[in-house]
Symmetry: C2
Subunit: 221 residues, 2 copies
DNA sequence: CGATGTGAAATGCTTCACAGCA
DNA sequence: TGCTGTGAAGCATTTCACATCG
């Protein structure tokens, strides 16, 4: 369920603001979804809301963590330490959750050896050696498009099962690999699509309400 | 339809490789979706496939461009010129499509005045002046979480209707604003979710096939 | 009373299967 | 013959509405 991480982010902010109880109404309005949908989503993890009151914020966060598999720690490798790779490496989104960046790789001699955060950039050729010490679960591809496919192949060969691709390149991988794209150009096109829909004459002058939010994922067969 | 930009990216790569005709089968396998789904999607733009042959690659690209509103040129502003903002500004994804980065904003005196690409970074306070010369359609927020809400408010006040938020912060905006999140932490959590699903015992030892791909969007009311 | 949890209805999306055309 | 275009069937998701409980 692609909405759970969104709820979780909201709950954390709500909790930090000192609100220890949330209603499906509030959570829904922050996530821009229907309150009934929130309840249905949450009911799949069990039923620990309190009728008349709502959900206990902290407890709900724990439950979602568990459902998302965030009680594991996932070792992450980032390949391509340009501006984007650096931004990703610095992102506290990694550390804050159960993701540990255990390797940064590049092929540029000017970059290899540099320290980003508390990890030293190593050469892509060291991948095999790195994997032999420590398995890698998730590979983040932040290289130029031209290198992306080769990097993907190398990562898969090294045992990585999940790829997050930031390069503007369509990748070909086996069906057993979990692959997601984060593509700025595609994001902008989606916005463009909705915006042109909004501007387009709909008959009356009323503006449709956009409830798009977040990044949804597709299913598992 | 959130899959159109994905098809379009694939078609461009296919065309560059010299293939002037694609079947729904091929397009589907590259996009990791069912061929029937491809045909249904494309049939919504009209019917210009050739039975027995497939679709003309170049023509299809044009049609999708039109559907996505890419015959317009969308003026884009990026706020927050750190590593991420720079990466976004340099991304050829902008220039290649109908998106023109017309302004880069920051509040750091050490950054304001710097040139990134062929655009000079200006101070966030200049926003009003910039808008008076030229309207802005899409705002990209690449600031730290702490600044994101304020920036969003300022952009909306300046007439921006669509926001693409890279900051790890839940934003509160009016219902008339199109808002999308690109959140690394959320992306990783989604991968984590699917991966733990794959690893989790499903009864037999067989691995489910993951066909997740791309960034889908949600609907318009 | 107020808000959850959940059948049931409504809606939307995906897949099938095949007629129809180049 | 090969592949598109599309009803119709099959699923999944969303929403409604309300019984239920703290």
């Amino acid at each position: 369920m692609g909405r759970l991480p969104v709820y979780q982010r909201i709950l954390e902010e709500v909790l930090r603001a000192g609100t220890t109880t949330v209603s499906s109404e509030l959570l829904g309005s922050l996530a821009r979804v229907n309150a009934a949908k929130v309840r249905k989503d949450l009911s799949m993890l069990g039923s620990f809301g309190t009728r008349g009151a709502g959900y206990d914020t902290a407890f709900l966060i724990e439950q979602i963590d568990r459902e998302l598999g965030l009680n594991h720690v996932w070792p992450v490798v980032i390949v391509g330490i340009g501006n984007l790779g650096r931004a990703l490496a610095h992102s506290q989104g990694f550390a804050a959750r159960g993701f540990r960046v255990v390797a940064l790789l590049d092929t540029d001699a000017a970059i290899v050896g540099e320290s980003v955060g508390d990890v030293t950039v190593r050469h892509l050729d060291d991948l095999e050696a790195i994997v032999s010490e420590q398995p890698l679960a998730i590979g983040v591809i932040a290289t130029p498009a031209s290198a992306a496919q080769r990097v993907a192949d190398l990562l898969i060969e090294a045992g990585v099962r999940s790829l997050l691709n930031f390069a503007p390149k369509v990748l070909t991988v086996g069906p057993e690999i979990l692959l997601r794209y984060v593509d700025l150009s595609i994001e902008l096109q989606i916005m463009s699509f909705y915006q042109s829909r909004m501007v387009a004459p709909g008959g009356d002058g009323s503006m449709p309400v956009i409830r798009s939010i977040g990044l949804t994922s597709t299913g598992v067969d």
